[in-house]
Amino acid sequence: MLKIKDIKKSFGKKEVLKGISTIFPEKKTTVIVGPSGSGKTTLLRSLDLLVKPDFGIIEFDDLKINFSEPFTNKTANALRDKTSMVFQNWNLFPNLTILQNITEAPIYVQKVNKTTANKQAHELLTEVGLDEYADAYPSELSGGQQQRISICRALAVKPEYILLDEPTSALDPEMETQVLEMLERLSDQGQSMIMVTHNMQFAKNAADKILFIENGKADFDGTKDEFFSTSSPRVKEFLHGISLN
């Protein structure tokens, strides 16, 4: 299980994460919400070490990094292997076909044999109904299709958790629905997920746990039912603001 303790991060003089501790339950969906600029992306990127925290502890089972102490690249890489990130703008590799986008890391990083990697990629594509695009390039697909491909790409390296940073905020509503349906299915199948989103409907449908980040701190950390019935004035105000949009 992935746990963090007292994670702090500053960019220059600005302290963006002010000590966040929580656990991300396995086979569950954790949704991170909060106003923009509150540090959600930074927190998510810290989990994959795309951002290196200044202080605190990240641990997964017996793997552990304490950022106040030196740690080896080996430990860092082992920890990073546990998570894989899906980006707001999907960031597919434009020079590779859809199939290659999915198989590149399994083949060249994880040394999976090519036939096996291709077979698994076709299975993932078939599951999301996009196998016919295997040989197309990303630029030939819509945003919603590209985002579903990028989720397949993240799943292909078989991480323990997939991390999603506002995966639908760059999509129009119809495409957003396609992506959210895919994510709800994954959530039902017990894929461990940590997702930043403003979509409260998704949180209501799929979240097991909700983390509310405000100003670099976790202001709320609990179950979905607790979240939507909380008496915290700040959460209420946030939910009210969102429902107006």
Partner: protein, 231 residues
Amino acid sequence: MWEIIISSLPSLIEAMLKYTIPLALISFAFGMIIAIGVALIKFLNPKINGLLSIFWKLLRLVANFYVWIFRSTPLLVQLFIIFFGLPSIGIKLPPFTAAVIGFSLNTGAYGSETIRSALMSVSKDQWDAAYTLGFSTPQTLWRIIMPQAFRIVLPPLSNEFIGLVKDTSLASTITIAEMFQVSQQIAAQNFQPLLMYVEVAALYAFLCTILSVLQHYLENRSSKFIKGDGN
């Protein structure tokens, strides 16, 4: 007139095959190796500390100095220093070697800036995407960033190559009997400077046109992924 053109053609073509083309090809190949090395030294920020990081800083200083000096002095002067100047400190180079060294270093200096800016123009997001999938820095460079940079770098590097083909005519000044020097010799014998220099100009144009065609072919091949609306 045609008789004069045709009778001079074999010597010109011989000079082209013997000197102009090899000079351009060999210098461009060495130039690109230097350019990629220098571009990476300037582009990468390896997470190292201690002595290694001092070494990297030193390397970068040398790279910056090299690019600065070769871009701020005329190619002709560089060739003269290498061929006529260095012997006075005991370094005597054969003309062809001196020319290859001069052209390679000059091409490398310009090329490194072209390549570095192409590497920088590939979005930072591509690095994030590769890192999250477990790619190392060299793997990311080689499999993701460089193929995308290649497409960007192709037109300016083709320009540099075409420029180099024409610049090989400067090798005539350090005693190399390349195409232009041969045309000068023939003109001195047959008293037809206009005809001879137009003929040699046409031969340079011919070479450069082949390169342009090659460039278009490579551009089409390397940009097959930019169809549709993009996004």
